[in-house]
Symmetry: none
Subunit: 317 residues, 2 copies
Amino acid sequence: MRIDVKAAAHLLEEQDNILILCHSHPDGDTLGCGFALCSALQKKGKRARVACADEIPTKYAYLWREVERQSFEPQFIVAVDVADPKLLGHPVEEQYAQRINLCIDHHGSNILYAEKTLLDPSAGATCEIIFELLRELEMRIDAAVADCIYTGLSTDTGCFRYSNATARTHRIAAEMIDCGADAPIINQVMFETKTRTYAALERLALDSLELFYEGRAALVTVTQEMYRLSGSDESECDPIASLPRQIEGVLVGVMLRERADGTFKASVRTHRPVDAAELCRRMGGGGHPRAAGCQLEGPLQCAREELLRNIKAVLEA
Amino acid sequence: MRIDVKAAAHLLEEQDNILILCHSHPDGDTLGCGFALCSALQKKGKRARVACADEIPTKYAYLWREVERQSFEPQFIVAVDVADPKLLGHPVEEQYAQRINLCIDHHGSNILYAEKTLLDPSAGATCEIIFELLRELEMRIDAAVADCIYTGLSTDTGCFRYSNATARTHRIAAEMIDCGADAPIINQVMFETKTRTYAALERLALDSLELFYEGRAALVTVTQEMYRLSGSDESECDPIASLPRQIEGVLVGVMLRERADGTFKASVRTHRPVDAAELCRRMGGGGHPRAAGCQLEGPLQCAREELLRNIKAVLEA
């Protein structure tokens, strides 16, 4: 059942011992949502904690600086920025997928798996919805919570660069800065600083860049071998996904990355008029119009061929 | 004499045949100011035009799509985003520097050369001040004017990344999007698009990346051979200079590029506390504390050794 911000606020107000689930391979939006909500609930006197199947990269440590470690038997389970319970990852999916009480999300592709869903696909980041929820709950947004919400806004919109950064996104960013969010430092950490291992991985990935279909499609491949050579791992590879689309004339940019089990994940970024979500749906995935993803079976040659065949079909449509 | 927005608006209301001057080597803020103001004045029935000493790069063409070409003998001269009349460039400086009636600017370093100056150093971009001026003049901000103002906000703040992007900057950006600014396309043109030749050059340059002195110095080399292989040339290589410093732990990042005559140019970018200007002065160059440059004799091995010896000395100091 879909519910609105007011109903979600009312629901949360009645609960305690709240477990907040982020998606696996966590990004700034799911973590920003998780820790903003957790911190705000704790400051209201409730018990709350955040769980994520994957280890959280240390660059995000400032998000939980005012969050207390609390243990309790969860009585109410909230998933934030999670479009499909599969995205919770092992073992969180097995443990909780069947009993999520509330999902708060901005993905149009959300499969409405939770008991109640607060879904707003017009939000540039799920953190915009968390902001509205906290306002509805009349929770004071302090600097720590503002940092969380700003992080979600900024990271999910490429620092306000992409089409999902709306007037609302900017207005909430302004409020977060007024509440004490340290925007310049957050942006430096999220967008300016590259670890040595990431820089090495990026270099290997760029060496794999190929252009197809008169330069309208660009593909970079990230393999397990590249992780080994660079000392990096898949927790760092996200920013590579945006590089192929930056090349002049490219309408579809793809990062194809090999998983430990030999399957592949394609991260697709497009320019108008190519619909990334539609392209990914053809391969069993989904997402947003300009950014989407899907899983592909290995080996690389097969994943690559399936991907290129579908890109060709979409470009010719 | 410094004046406020109200006084500047009043002054402009009384004038006609208004010449608006941008600084030379024009950027998105000076051009956004110029064309926003010109377009708004023309739509109020006044005669106005923009002048710039340098040719304006074609990527900015959308800024003047609704500006009429008008010729007239200027009766009132406005400089926008110009801190010092020297920055007007030849021949605009010689022609107008002595008779500027109004300067609108956000540089704290403005030398107050104009008859009247509307100066606000707290503005992230001069376009913020232009927005306030147009609002004071009760001018309707249409999509063409909104594109101009948004361009200034976005380009001067690194797409809202740097510390000069304040809550006010975000609020004005939100209003501009509401007025019809095509933010995603503007950001794509200004920040996202790499030519294929630049992308190829960047890839070759990154392959040359080396770290020195426990990772505190990073060097990329751009050779004539790389220009040949990529189809690029030195007019495109500037953005590569900022890449080495982005790596975590790097205090001195250098792009060493080979010139056609076999000499080398070093472009140095540093983080505190390393002074780039001081490092370059040791090699006969100069610049700013965080960005400087110098010339070095070839062959590559010699240039590289001199550079590394001086970097070592500065890091040990």
